[in-house]
Every structure is written in structure tokens, then in C-alpha cells.
């Protein structure tokens, strides 16, 4: 007789895989978001074009298609990625493209007076970007980044379709074995993880805002 006490340990092991995937792919996504979000504003056209192509392709197609492409199609071009790497790459590339638009929008929202002041003080372009623009923009980025992080956590469920044994995969396996309503428990676990993630992102948002000394206009959609 399977009870919650026998179902929970394997589910929690799956939840751990899900949490690790979410963290690593969010990190990959954040790096890509800054690189391509700043790249799209570059005055050097090859970088600008490269950023635009990356953003449009990964925002314009479906995440599951990207994941299947990396996992099933790429090996035929001679590059074989394991399921973990394919999953992390697909998730990171996807969320990075969405994040890029956030980064770009936040940079453009920094008041022009800040740029003019930086020019007046004879700051270099690099110094202006890193020490004047990005700190202020970062505060504005945090609320939408929080939404994207939750989105990414939810998207990790798709890795179960390329054979990774995350929470969704284990719940399905247990359901097949026990014919019980295991997806209910996995839904609750996902919800709990999302709540923890949201609390963490709020905390991070406050820490950054305190350090920069600006508060963000909050909007959730």
C-alpha cells in the first residue's frame, strides 16, 4: 500500500533535480540576458545583429521544440549533448532571450540626465555602463526577473520529456506504478518551490535596491 510517506522521498529527490536545473539554467539565462540585452544596444553592428537574431529565434519558437532540437537533432550534426546539458542549455537560452528584452528595457529607462552627467564628468563609456547605468537599471530589472525565474522553474518540467528524472518525471513514473493521483503532490511541491523562489527574489530585489539606493516600480503581469 503506497502512502504519502513512501511516495514523498522519491518525489523530493526529483524536486532536488528540478531545483538544481532551475538554479543553473537561470544563471545561464542571466548571463545570456545581459550579454544580448546590452549587445542589442551596441553601436557595433555585428554584435547588434547577433543579439537580435538570438533573441528573435529563441523568443519566436517553442521551448520544447528548442529542447528536442538540441537533444534529438543536434547529434545528427555531430554534437551530442547529454540530457542534462541539453535541458540546461535549452532552458537557459530560452529564458535568456526573454531576459534580454528586460535588460534592454531597463537600460533604456535610465533617465538621459544620467548619461549627460556621465559625459559631463568625462567618464568612459565602459565606466558609465558599469557604474552609472547598470546599477540603476538592475533595480528596475529585478521584478520582471522574478517573474522570469518562476517561469523558468515551471519550464523545467519539460526536461522530463527528454528523459531527465526531475520532479515531473518521477511523479509520472510513480503514477504508472501505483495508479495513484501522484501529480497532485507534484503540483503542490512545484507551488511550494515557486513561493520560496518568489520570496528569495523579493529579498534579492530589496538587497540590491538598498545597495543602489533606488526603489523599483513594482508591476506584476
Amino acid at each position: 500500500m503506497e502512502t504519502l510517506s513512501t511516495l514523498l522521498p522519491p518525489l523530493l529527490r526529483g524536486a532536488r533535480v528540478t531545483a538544481e536545473l532551475a538554479l543553473v539554467s537561470t544563471g545561464v539565462g542571466a548571463v545570456l540576458a545581459f550579454a544580448s540585452g546590452i549587445g542589442k544596444l551596441s553601436t557595433f553592428w555585428p554584435i547588434r545583429i547577433l543579439s537580435i537574431v538570438y533573441i528573435e529565434i529563441f523568443r519566436g519558437t517553442s521551448l520544447l521544440v528548442q529542447m528536442f532540437w538540441l537533444f534529438y537533432a543536434l547529434p545528427l550534426l555531430g554534437v551530442t549533448l547529454g540530457p542534462t546539458l541539453a535541458g540546461i542549455l535549452a532552458l537557459g537560452l530560452n529564458i535568456g532571450a526573454y531576459g534580454a528584452e528586460v535588460v534592454r528595457g531597463a537600460i533604456l529607462a535610465v533617465p538621459t540626465g544620467q548619461y549627460e552627467a556621465a559625459v559631463a564628468l568625462n567618464f568612459t563609456k565602459r565606466y558609465t555602463l558599469w557604474n552609472v547605468v547598470l546599477p540603476q537599471a538592475l533595480v528596475e530589472m529585478m521584478p520582471p526577473f522574478g517573474n522570469l525565474a518562476v517561469q523558468n522553474l515551471k519550464d523545467t518540467a519539460l526536461v522530463s520529456l527528454i528523459t531527465l528524472s526531475d520532479l515531473t518525471f518521477r511523479a509520472q513514473t510513480l503514477r504508472n506504478l501505483t495508479l495513484k493521483s501522484v501529480p497532485i503532490y507534484s503540483l503542490v511541491l512545484y507551488f511550494a518551490m515557486a513561493l520560496i523562489l518568489m520570496a528569495g527574489m523579493r529579498l534579492l530585489e530589496r538587497v540590491i535596491a538598498n545597495r543602489v539606493g533606488v526603489t523599483a516600480a513594482r508591476a506584476r503581469s
Partner: protein
């Protein structure tokens, strides 16, 4: 062979050409699921938005919880729940319908926020003026508030329509023969995944670009100061 169409594996280009009609059959299902899912999301989202606005906490709080739960849990797991768990309780639905309902449920959480934000964005003075004119509530909504909220709501809803298109491949997990599922079946049978999966990527890009363009066209044609409902 699939759907009565044969593929030609003599070269990559011939293969690509021969599977176009098969992939287009899948695209029809993709579009059908998108439209049905979107309609469910529009209707259910409105119900959630209205229930959340009810001044009774016993109604508004559980609604807020349900919306939050739907929004923060994965579509794939919700889909599995509908497809595998509900039959345990006697509710058996065909895969396509289950998929469309899952899409509709997940996105109703988003659309309900859109409705709410749209209504809240109508200036307070408009409500106060209606009150001062002693207008009945029905007329306030029909003639004052909703017409002004629509131009703010439509663009956001359009963005979610595009998102739904990109989420339809998830329905392949419960055997719905949409575009991605068709492509992987072709791959399974021919051991050629590169061409069909790349083509599906391209077709999705076309679908989302065209629909995003359509949304922008509609957006531009909307009168900025309100859309009269009479």
C-alpha cells in the same frame, strides 16, 4: 507514410519537401488548440477577475489562491493531472480537449490579471463621474469603464495568444498530434530528426511572427480613448 502522404528520403531537400503537407496537418491541430485554449482562457479569466473583485473575502481570497496556484505550477503537470488523474474520478476527456482545457486553465490565470489591471487603469474620476450622474452599475460598465479598458487589455491579451502558440507542443506529451509530435514521429520512423525538427522550429517562427504582427495591427487600429460598445 503518415496521413496518407509518403516521404522521399533520397536527399535532405527532397525529404523536407515531401514532409511539408504532413507538418501542415500538424499545424492545423496546433492552431486549433491555440484558438480553443485562448477562448477558454478569455472566458475563464473573466470569471476569475470578476470573482476576485467580489467584496466578500470568502469568495475573493480562494479565487486569488486558485489563480496564484494555476500561475505558479507547470502547464505540463497540470496537463498530466487533467489527463491521468481526473479519469480516476470518472471524468474522461479526449486528449485534444484535455490539452485545450489545460492551456485555457493556465492562461486564465494570466488573462484574469490582464482584465483586473485593465479595469484598474481606468481613472478614478470616470467612476466618480458616473456615480455623480447616478448611472446604473450596468451602464457604468458597458458605456464608461469597459470601453476605456479595452484598448489597454487587447494588446496584453494578444501577447498571451502568441505565448499559447508556443506552449502547444506540450500537448504532444498526451498524444495530441500537433506539429512537434508529427515531426518526432517522422523522425522516429525515418531516423532523420534534423530536418523535421528544424522545419518545425521555422514554422513556429513564422506562426509567432505572423500572429505578433496581427496583434500589432489590431492594436494600432484600436481607438486610444475607448471603444464604444453600442
Amino acid at each position: 507514410m503518415m496521413f496518407g502522404f509518403h516521404w522521399n528520403t533520397s536527399s535532405n531537400w527532397a525529404f523536407a519537401g515531401s514532409i511539408i503537407p504532413i507538418l501542415l496537418r500538424g499545424m492545423v491541430v496546433t492552431i486549433e488548440a491555440t484558438i480553443l485554449g485562448f477562448l477558454i482562457a478569455l472566458a475563464l479569466g473573466l470569471v476569475f477577475a470578476l470573482l476576485r473583485a467580489v467584496p466578500l473575502k470568502i469568495v475573493s481570497w480562494p479565487t486569488a489562491f486558485v489563480v496564484e496556484f494555476l500561475r505558479d505550477t507547470p502547464l505540463l503537470v497540470q496537463l498530466y493531472f487533467l489527463y491521468f488523474v481526473l479519469p480516476n474520478y470518472g471524468l474522461v476527456l479526449p486528449a485534444f480537449l484535455t490539452g485545450a482545457i489545460a492551456l485555457g486553465l493556465q492562461y486564465s490565470a494570466y488573462t484574469s490579471e490582464v482584465y483586473r489591471a485593465g479595469l484598474e487603469a481606468v481613472p478614478r474620476g470616470q467612476w466618480e463621474a458616473s456615480l455623480a450622474l447616478n448611472m446604473p452599475m450596468l451602464l457604468v460598465y458597458r458605456d464608461v469603464v469597459v470601453p476605456q479598458a479595452i484598448p489597454r487589455i487587447i494588446p496584453a491579451l494578444g501577447n498571451y495568444l502568441v505565448s499559447i502558440i508556443k506552449d502547444t507542443p506540450i500537448l504532444s506529451a498526451v498524444t495530441v498530434l500537433e506539429m512537434l509530435n508529427v515531426a518526432t514521429i517522422i523522425g522516429d520512423r525515418t531516423f532523420r530528426y534534423l530536418v523535421p525538427l528544424s522545419m518545425v522550429g521555422g514554422l513556429f517562427l513564422i506562426l509567432t511572427l505572423v500572429s505578433a504582427w496581427l496583434v500589432r495591427v489590431v492594436e494600432r487600429r484600436l481607438p486610444h480613448d475607448g471603444l464604444p460598445l453600442r
